[in-house]
């Protein structure tokens, strides 16, 4: 099923996530908004890395680690903000 959520980070930017979830796993992920990420292309790897991840994963660690590996930097939103908006979307799933 498809779920989405958005979050306006206080003092920061808007982050929106659209997820496709099936069998307890994220199958597709799209992250949009008016935040900044350097380098910009890191967004595609970030979305790719969410595929196949269980809905109970520690998203903050996953995102933080990936950003470190890619030497990427978020501005206007933090890994925790992204994790929160992902969890907010997932909470809309009917079990």
């Amino acid at each position: 099923m498809k779920v989405d959520a958005e979050l306006k980070v206080p003092g920061g930017k808007l982050v929106r996530v659209e997820l496709e979830v099936d069998g307890g796993l994220i199958r597709e992920a799209k992250i949009t908004g008016d935040f900044f990420l350097y380098p910009e292309e890191a967004i595609f790897k970030l979305e790719e890395s969410l595929k196949g991840v269980g809905v109970d994963a520690n998203f903050e660690d996953l995102i933080s680690n990936l950003l470190v590996r890619m030497d990427a930097q978020l501005l206007g939103a933090s890994p925790l903000d992204l994790a929160n908006v992902i969890r907010k979307a997932l909470s809309k799933m009917k079990s």
Binding site: G33, D34, F36, P39, E40
Partner: protein, 258 residues
């Protein structure tokens, strides 16, 4: 004597050309094929630019844009959607290596580099008698209201930062082309935006000409960066790159990337 940078006054351009030139300058600077540059320009016809990470359909009423003759372009920089009114704003762009900023600010973070480069706009506003302040992440405010927003990207150690300065606001058109949190055009909605956004007409009481603002920004960037801006033109290499890149910016696949 202060260091000389190139000043480009490229006048009015289409959205596609404007974004192509900014990217061409960034590539050329990263390859060492153009000097540090400040460019000042406007948009004709009026256009909407959206940030790299934004969803086209959520931000822009594409049909309405087509009807009104407003172009739509996706930037290579993050940040938000902007309505670039042909008669209502001036845009700046700047290309400079990160190293240059680190010379004066050794530990400068990305956030600090925004503030540093935005000083050019703050000084330009001062030139026009307007006192403003930088507000993280990327805004410039006058009495708490936004008058300018900027966005930056980096390629191979070179920063491209571009941003807009509002001369006057055509809020009715803006509301029609941007999907501003689903609000409909109403007096109430327009009042709400007027609370958050301002422009030079409102702050100076003068209907400033683009040229006056361009001159003020030129002085502002000279003062803020401690350089002398010398008017020049795009190199043949940058022009070739820009012509190529213009096709990307015109393409559906780029516009609908997200």
């Amino acid at each position: 004597m202060s260091e000389e940078w190139r000043l480009l006054k490229t006048g009015a351009g289409t959205a596609y050309w404007n974004m192509a030139v900014d990217e061409a300058m960034l590539i050329a600077r990263a390859e060492g094929r153009c000097p540090n540059t400040v460019r000042l320009y406007t948009w004709r016809p009026s256009a909407v630019s959206i940030g790299f990470f934004q969803s086209l359909e959520r931000e822009v009423d594409v049909e309405e844009c087509r009807r009104m003759g407003v172009d739509v372009v996706r930037r290579i920089t993050g940040g938000g959607a902007v309505f670039h009114d042909e008669h209502g704003e001036v845009t700046y762009s700047i290309v400079v290596p990160e190293e240059y900023l680190k010379r004066s600010f050794p530990h400068s973070s990305i956030q600090e580099s925004y503030e540093l480069l935005c000083k050019g706009v703050l000084e330009g506003l001062k030139e026009l008698g307007v006192s403003a302040e930088f507000k993280p992440v990327n805004d410039i405010l006058v009495s708490g209201r936004k008058i300018s927003g900027s966005a930056q990207t980096r390629r191979r150690g070179v920063i491209l930062q571009h941003g807009t300065l509002l001369l006057k606001s055509d809020l009715k058109t803006m509301f029609r082309v941007l999907k501003v949190s689903g609000e409909k055009i109403s007096d109430k909605a327009i009042k709400a935006v007027e609370e958050r956004v301002t422009n030079l007409l409102r702050e100076t009481g003068r209907d400033l000409k683009v040229d006056e603002v361009v001159d003020a920004l030129t002085k502002g960037f000279e003062r803020a960066l401690g350089v002398k801006l010398v008017e020049g033109s795009l190199t043949p290499y940058e022009l070739d790159l820009a012509k190529e890149l213009e096709q990307k910016y015109k393409s559906e696949s780029w516009l609908k990337l997200r």
